[in-house]
Subunit: 194 residues, 2 copies
DNA sequence: GTCTATAACATGATAGAC
DNA sequence: GTCTATCATGTTATAGAC
């Protein structure tokens, strides 16, 4: 009675996790504005007031729900080629993109907070990618173009669902993109410098 | 008295144009959801009810406001190189993008109607670009990747305002992007086929 | 601790006075 | 023709019953 099995604040964490899960889905599908606390609560099978009780505000819920937005690239091999490094992340981008990432991406054009998240996340990706660009003083710009290229393809595929992209396998897309990314990374079109 | 100078239904068209102009700005800046009839009316200096009187609904206003969304590429020269063709449109994309286009782009991830507009517009761009890709059976896919590449760069520059891109001139961006687009267009990496 | 009821507010849209 | 006043709805957030 003083210390029951596991049903003290442990069950709370279970429902909290369920709410966060459904919120992530909803935010990913409809964006921040069109997602309602009511809908999230309904999907999670709880009362709307409970969601507020747990998270305080809709924005806080959003922030908590998209904190899957971390550590997508724990790469160690710094000697890898630039394009491979980029395309390694694209593979999982075209397949199962984390729902938290989807949620932030869908809201990034209309919600300033989401835009900020994406801006810093892409900034980090750009500096990481820039480290793999050979030399030159515009390595950051090259990296930024490579990252935004992948961003555009991901948006077209995942959010816009362009038929021309949906019909292609990730492998083919990667294969076609590799030379383009290499062209972005190579300052001089030397014939053989590998 | 029966036929005054020009102030019959001609002044109406003037205010209507002013409303459309302010609506376009507002939609471009905040997207469909966060744009209110009241704000548009306030910016145009008219009563909110008048906006409804003229356009019937918010969505109708949106549709009318973004009908600048036409004919961006009246190119005749079909013999032009693929990359040049693409980059010609990028020049004005990075500089002054039409506000109607901005409005649709900003809403495309959260508003299904806007997404539909963009999907068809990009589809048209893809088929147009595909006609300039040399041969191969995956020309449409290549064209789609080129178009989404430019889409990503445009989003990163114009909507997300990534520092790494804002600091670069359109000319440098174009120069760096050209080899990448060429790599997308060329099925075989032949040394000299021009 | 959980939920019912409701407050407080903003929105798109409508009806009717001027 | 133009605008004031209002409706109906949907939202986040709060207070209080169980």
């Amino acid at each position: 009675m003083t210390t029951p099995r596991q049903t003290r604040a442990d069950r709370r964490r279970a429902t909290e996790a369920r709410i966060l899960d459904k919120a992530r889905e909803e935010f990913a599908a409809k964006g921040f504005d069109r997602t309602t606390i009511r809908a999230v609560a309904g999907a999670a099978g709880v009362d709307p007031a409970l969601v507020m009780q747990y998270f305080g505000s809709k924005r806080e819920l959003f922030g908590r729900a998209v904190r899957t937005f971390t550590a997508p690239a724990p790469e160690e091999s710094g000697a890898e080629a630039f394009a491979d490094r980029m395309l390694a992340t694209l593979g999982l981008k075209l397949g199962g993109l984390p729902e938290g990432t989807l949620a932030v991406m869908r809201s990034m054009l209309t919600d300033p907070a989401a835009a900020g998240h994406v801006r810093t996340a892409l900034g980090r990706q750009i500096t990481d990618a820039g480290a793999a660009v050979p030399a030159s003083d515009d390595r950051e710009l090259r990296a930024a173009l490579a990252v935004t290229t992948l961003l555009g393809v991901t948006i077209g595929h995942q959010l816009l669902e362009l038929p021309a992209l949906r019909g292609a396998s990730p492998e083919r897309i990667s294969a076609l993109l590799r030379p383009a990314l290499n062209a972005l990374a190579e300052p001089a079109p030397g014939p053989e410098t590998a």
